[in-house]
């Protein structure tokens, strides 16, 4: 890599699916602006680079690092610390880095159960019950693989984070807006927002961007959308008994799902000011159940068939409890 006057850019993926990288590439020709304005020094999905190359860079020599993925293993944690050390601006990019996302749902189970699921599944032949071992002695010496933590952590639970870009994945137009902002900052035309801010998203909730008609809510029945024959195209989904997470979810996506006739599942994370997304949403749903009879209320709640998935699909690792007791205790 040649020395360049251009500011340096990096992107890294920890425990994630790769969707965030696709979302960046999905900005189409905007990616050329990145190349024009930055020197890309480290981006495993897009170019070849070694960790030792990053280690060799001076501290704070990278202007901007977009870090996606949660912290699942010691390798993830080491890279989080490394990128923090080498970067001026470290951004938690996407739901996994911000709040744990789908990988964070593993926090409901202990490590043993997770390994059993992966290494003892019906489609796996593993008669010797082999499990990954952090260290394995071979004639040539000791082989090491990263250690698997019992609990998945979000990026800011491990290192100091400057900004958050939510979304699973972040919408491309929001990524483009952030790229534009950073370029303007580099050119001295704009100021960075306050540290700790959520960028590339709105401050209120998905309802703000949702065109559906909203009335006073009184819910007699929760129904999964796939079980309904008719969904009113103009009426608030929650009022139709479809458990839509829009009221607690941060705006910024443009209410894509509700506009397409599907309920919001909450991928943009909690709205500004919401501390525990799932708890907020649970009290909100419970508040609009239209019954005072305990048995009827139980029956209505039975319509929420997967409470953990409904309320904590994206944010379990960043919730107040973060993980189940057995996960915390497993080693």
């Amino acid at each position: 890599m040649s020395a360049s006057a251009k500011p340096k850019f990096a992107m890294y993926w920890a425990a994630s699916c790769g969707g965030c990288e696709i979302a960046v590439l999905n900005t189409h020709e905007k990616i050329l602006d990145v190349d024009a304005n930055f020197e890309v020094v480290f981006w495993p999905v897009a170019m070849d680079a070694k960790y030792k190359d990053v280690e060799a860079m001076p501290d704070r020599s990278i202007l901007l690092t977009l870090f996606n993925g949660g912290i699942r293993t010691t390798e993830n944690a080491e890279l989080a610390h490394l990128m923090r050390q080498k970067s001026q601006i470290l951004v938690a990019f996407g739901s996994c880095a911000c709040e744990g996302c789908i990988p964070g749902l593993a926090n409901l189970s202990n490590k043993q159960a997770l390994f059993d699921t992966v290494y003892n599944s019906p489609s796996t032949t593993n008669s010797q019950e082999t499990r990954p071992q952090p260290e394995t002695a071979v004639p040539e010496g000791t082989l090491k693989i990263p250690y698997f933590y019992p609990v998945l952590k979000t990026l800011d639970q491990v290192v100091d984070v400057d900004y958050y870009i939510p979304g699973c994945p972040p919408e491309s137009h929001q990524i483009s807006a952030v790229i534009d902002l950073v370029i303007q900052v580099v050119q001295g035309k704009a100021l960075l927002p306050a540290k700790g801010a959520t960028i590339g998203a709105g401050e209120s909730t998905v309802c703000d961007e949702c065109p559906r008609q909203r009335n006073i809510k009184a819910i007699k029945k929760f129904t999964r959308i796939q079980e309904l024959k008719v969904v009113d195209p103009a009426l608030c989904l929650l009022e139709q008994g479809i458990p839509c997470n829009g009221p607690a979810t941060r705006s910024g996506c443009g209410a894509l799902c509700p506009q397409a006739g599907a309920q919001c599942i909450g991928c943009y994370g909690p709205a500004a000011g919401v501390i525990d997304y799932g708890a907020r949403l649970m009290t909100a749903f419970a508040s609009v159940i239209d019954s005072t009879d305990p048995q009827e209320i139980d029956a209505i709640l039975d319509g929420l068939v997967d409470p953990a998935g409904q309320f904590y699909r994206f944010n379990l690792a960043s919730s107040l409890l973060r993980a189940s007791r057995s996960a915390w205790k497993s080693q």
Binding site: P247, A248, A271, G273, S287, V288
Partner: protein
């Protein structure tokens, strides 16, 4: 809520005083209060604590002066008192802070009595927990904001719900003092249970003679608006400014024209068993007043039983009414009234003795309820006061009176119904006086507390009533021994004699207990009150505030609060009236400035909160697509704060910062170096 400080409060900027109360031995008996105070002074120094003391009774004037002196001399900016529940003394300590010039809302009361010493026996653990509780209070108080109370005017009108003796007393006291009262009664007449009695214990004065003058006063009082045959359906607002919706059931009588002459009742061809006033022992007509002395005097037409309403013909009453007062076209009406205070005196239901199947009520003809006996012995009742068996003619030769029916019994109600012993004694006296029959009273314990009650018991003893101490096992008509044929046999263990006895009698009277009204829970919900597990309404303090409730501006009187006799009901009616009058004369009331507010930038108008507010304080602005909380109506209950999915609503005094800081304090995450509870 303005604050002059530009930087948010922190342990560095604040000077916090911690005061740990012994509460005599209430707290100090379990918690090492001195150690808690020393620990707070030492370990919480870096969290802003500048002084920590323990004292025998913090609520005493000496204890309060301790706080005031420290505020003035040490310049305290926050105060934490570790003592009893905020229900009891929050106001005491806030006022003390206010006297010393500190905003009262910068004081936090944490409970180490109700939540620690009273619920633990392990002294070390209780002391450790107290430290954590104090630590939580210190972290929380840092985030308190100085607040000013909201002052609102008090509407001078009082709503009294329930026209029994307690409600009547309350209404008259307030009206006599010159303030307007609206009295709502769901039956056609006021009077309540007392109007059904013949004699009252222990003086045996005639119930009607002492009650009806009061009823007449209510009916004719210029300050009382009497709404009978009416029910409250909705209560909005808050202390000083309630808006109440009342449903007036149609009487089908034009009360402007009716003179109460009674011709309609005479001419009505339809007879119905009177289950309410006559306890099923007599008939009334489809158009009726419950009893001759009813107030108001106007009858009502019972739509369910009226031939015209059911079959479309008849109209006998209409034909004969001399003033054309019958009006079949009436519909139910809803009216809205404004009231500053509300007194609930909705009374009780009699325990239904059918539930005690072994006593045979409803199966054995000559088993009577206490209310049936009241009607039987009433000189204006169905038998003109003759005490006779169900056949209506035969006087009994032997009568058994069973106490504690449905009371003091795990199968029904654990509580003592208070009046049943005296009621049973009164029945014994009346039976003796009128029939000369042999009378047995079966009791578990004789409870004759209060003035002249025990003297009455002795009088009944001297009159020759026989007392058997024991809980009756069974009343049966299955004769087994000679002399039992055709009799009701009372099977009982005589616990004084230590033997099983079978006592044949002709008549059994069940001295039933009192129960909360069947709809007590719904009514409580309507008015925002809480019920005990038994269903009686909960007073603000069982000893010191028996007629107030936890809902400001709503008072309770009489049996709605728990079983009681007539003198106690009257006292409570008067007491509630005195409380209300005190309020009205103040003209204004200072309300807690604990309110919810909506951050409009965060509100997306999802409308989840819109239907939740018990005080109807939430407005939705369709034009701006946001919801707003009206601070004049908000009572700070926090329902909407909890429900808001966007976190756009916050409650003063219960902000996220305050609650999370308190949790961190409780978990001792505020200490450096980090300590765990076990290491304390």
């Amino acid at each position: 809520m303005s604050t002059e400080k530009t930087t948010p409060p922190s342990p560095e900027t604040e000077k916090i005083g911690v005061y740990v109360c012994h509460c005599g031995s209430n707290i100090a008996g379990i918690v090492d209060v001195q150690e808690v105070a020393e620990w707070a002074g030492e370990r919480l120094k870096e969290r802003g604590v500048v002084v920590a003391r323990d004292y025998k009774f913090m609520c005493s004037s000496l204890g309060q002066e301790l706080i005031e002196k420290d505020i003035q001399e040490k310049g305290l900016t926050r105060v934490v008192v570790a003592a009893c529940s905020p229900h009891l003394h929050e106001n005491t300590f806030r006022t003390a802070c206010g006297r010393a010039g500190l905003n009262p809302y910068l004081c936090e009361l944490v409970s180490i009595r109700e939540q620690v010493s009273w619920v633990h026996t392990d002294k070390d653990a209780a002391t450790t927990k107290s430290k954590a509780v104090v630590s939580g209070g210190v972290e929380r108080v840092i985030h308190h904001e100085p607040l000013e109370p909201l002052v609102v005017p008090i509407h001078p009108t009082t709503l009294v719900v329930g026209g029994g003796i307690a409600g009547i007393q309350a209404a008259l006291e307030i009206a006599d003092a010159g303030f307007p009262v609206i009295l709502v009664e769901r039956e056609p007449s006021i009077g309540g249970h007392m109007a059904q009695f013949d004699k009252t214990f222990p003086t045996l004065d005639c119930s009607a003679c002492i009650l009806t003058p009061r009823m007449v006063s209510v009916g004719s009082h210029p300050n009382i608006t009497l709404l009978t045959w009416s029910e409250v359906t909705r209560v909005d607002g808050y202390v000083g400014n309630f808006t109440v919706t009342i449903r007036k059931k149609p009487r089908y009588i034009n009360t402007q024209l009716c003179t109460g002459c009674g011709i309609c009742q005479e001419k009505c061809p339809k007879k119905i068993i009177d289950d309410v006033y006559e306890a099923g022992l007599s008939y009334r007509k489809a158009v009726y007043t419950p009893f001759p002395q009813a107030v108001p005097k106007y009858p009502v037409i019972d739509r369910e039983n009226c031939i015209f309403f059911q079959k479309g013909t008849c109209r006998a009453c209409e034909k004969f009414c001399p003033t054309n007062a019958i009006d079949f076209s009436q519909n139910e009406e809803y009216m809205t009234i404004e009231a500053g205070n509300i007194i609930l005196a909705t009374g009780y239901d009699l325990f239904d003795p059918r539930r005690v199947t072994q006593y045979g009520y409803g199966r054995l003809a000559n088993v009577f309820t206490s209310l049936e006996f009241e009607r039987l012995s009433n000189s204006a009742g169905p038998t003109n006061g003759n005490i006779v068996l169900r056949d209506g003619v035969t006087p009994p030769a032997a009568v058994g009176i069973i106490h504690c029916v449905g009371s003091r019994d795990r199968n029904y109600n654990n509580y003592c119904s208070v009046i049943c012993c005296m009621q049973g004694l009164k029945f014994a006296h009346l039976v003796k006086e009128r029939t000369g029959a042999t009378v047995y009273n079966f009791y578990i314990d004789m409870r004759t507390a209060y003035k002249a009650y025990d003297e009455f018991y002795q009088r009944v003893l001297e009159e020759g009533t026989l007392f058997v101490r024991g809980k009756v096992a069974e009343v049966t008509d299955a004769a087994r021994l000679p002399g039992e044929d055709g009799k009701l046999i009372i099977q009982v263990e005589d616990t004084l004699a230590g033997i099983q006895r079978r006592i044949p009698v002709d008549m059994v009277i069940l001295s039933s207990g009192l129960e909360p009204r069947h709809d007590a829970k719904q009514v409580a919900q309507l008015f925002g009150l809480s019920c005990s597990a038994d269903g009686w309404y909960i007073e603000k303090h069982p000893k010191l505030d028996p007629v107030a409730t936890m809902t400001e501006g709503i008072f309770i009187a009489g049996c709605v609060q728990g079983p009681k006799d007539i003198p106690s009901s009257v006292s409570q009616g008067a007491a509630a009236a005195a409380r209300v009058l005190g309020r009205i004369q103040q003209e204004h009331i200072a309300l807690e400035p604990i309110r919810a507010t909506v951050d409009e930038t965060k509100c997306s108008g999802c409308r989840i909160c819109n239907n939740l507010c018990p005080f109807n304080a939430i407005l939705f602005h369709a034009d701006r697509n946001v919801s707003e909380v009206n601070p004049a109506l908000c009572q700070g209950c926090g329902t909407c704060v909890a429900a808001c999915p966007a976190g756009a609503i916050s409650g003063t005094g219960f902000s996220n910062e305050q609650i999370l800081a308190q949790i961190e304090g409780l978990l001792l995450l505020n200490l450096t170096p980090k300590y765990t509870l076990a290491a304390l």
